[in-house]
Homo-oligomer: 205 residues x 2
């Protein structure tokens, strides 16, 4: 069995939003497919230990936002790489909500589906939710973000250790002025905004 | 509800092969996702009236081939746009089979999964099969074909009606010789293979 074969399956990238009582959360997921057309049903798979999964099991509803090509790594990191049990992920965002109060993305998403769970199947590590779609909106004309796009273009590439990288210039963090050259004199003062060398960051080759 | 929102979901393109007793068939499907990792499970959705679905329900196994960027429209048309109840789709193909005898693609696929059904859920129009993966192989280094790739690059674009298209040259169907110009003289004879004008086909602008 070559487990690399699984990496060849194609997925999108989605924000899965849920609300149960006063608790609201959202996480990143890759699995959402239409599984029937009469009646219309979608299926999502959600890690059992996830806080969002807990909220969906409680409320029986969720909203899924289909990320588009304008989605940034920072957005995916915020919702996908920390738990709503540790951090209030929703604190700094103003998000639209569906009729159940489930949050969805008002930017960086090309479509949303508002869903009501009709079947839940516990598969050990994950729960498979089969859901009726009660509302669906197209949100942008941008191409949907695929998981392959995320891996190839959105996720930052590993950087070389600082010792192996060559500095080619310095950028003033205050105004953006660029000083060309590998070494910034310690007594340098930004000719645009007057800030000192300490406010400059390196730009690598 | 805007049903165009569903078109934004990302899918792959797969050949779904099944064998029950002496009956063997394969069809094209777009839904295959990994739905759990402990234990490893995949899910596929299959139209209830499909012959391949009938064979999977009977045998409890299937093989799924993940089409890659080298897959042609003719391959997808052969397996995806006719029923195994009307045509023996397998007649002209020599295909490898998994341990259950399910056929998979020896070309135009980047990976295959051999699967044993553990749960079936009838959703009206479709059956959702949840399956254990008993074997998995990487078959090529080509990129997986996505459904969006199929729509944009593999599926032929609708041609203009013949009356609206301009002929720019004629190709000898026997040897490939090209006669440049919109009108091929009726008494023309191919200078390479000696075949007459009847054996030429138009090339449109």
């Amino acid at each position: 069995m070559d487990s690399k074969a699984f990496w060849k399956l194609s997925y999108g990238v989605f924000l899965l939003g849920a609300k149960a009582g006063d608790r609201v959360n959202a996480c990143i997921t890759n699995t959402c497919i239409q599984v029937a057309n009469d009646p219309t049903r979608v299926a999502i798979s959600c890690i059992n230990k996830n806080y969002t999964r807990e909220l969906i099991s409680e409320s029986g509803t969720f909203a899924i936002s289909l990320l588009d090509s304008s989605a940034t790594f920072e957005l995916i990191r915020h919702f996908g790489m920390q738990s709503g049990r540790d951090v209030d992920k929703m604190a700094s965002f103003q998000m639209p909500v569906d009729e159940f109060g489930n949050p969805y993305l008002g930017w960086a998403a090309c479509a949303m589906l508002s869903c009501k769970v009709v079947e839940s199947h516990d598969l050990g590590s994950h729960t498979l939710f089969i859901a009726e779609v009660v509302d669906a909106k197209v949100l942008s004309d941008n191409a949907p973000l695929t998981y392959a796009d995320y891996q190839d273009h959105v996720k930052p590439k590993p950087e070389k250790p600082a010792g192996e990288r060559k500095v080619k210039a310095w950028r003033c963090k205050i105004c953006g002025y660029i000083y060309e050259g590998p070494e910034l004199p310690k007594d340098f003062v930004c000719p645009i905004c007057g800030h000192p060398a300490d406010d400059f960051e390196p730009i690598y080759e």
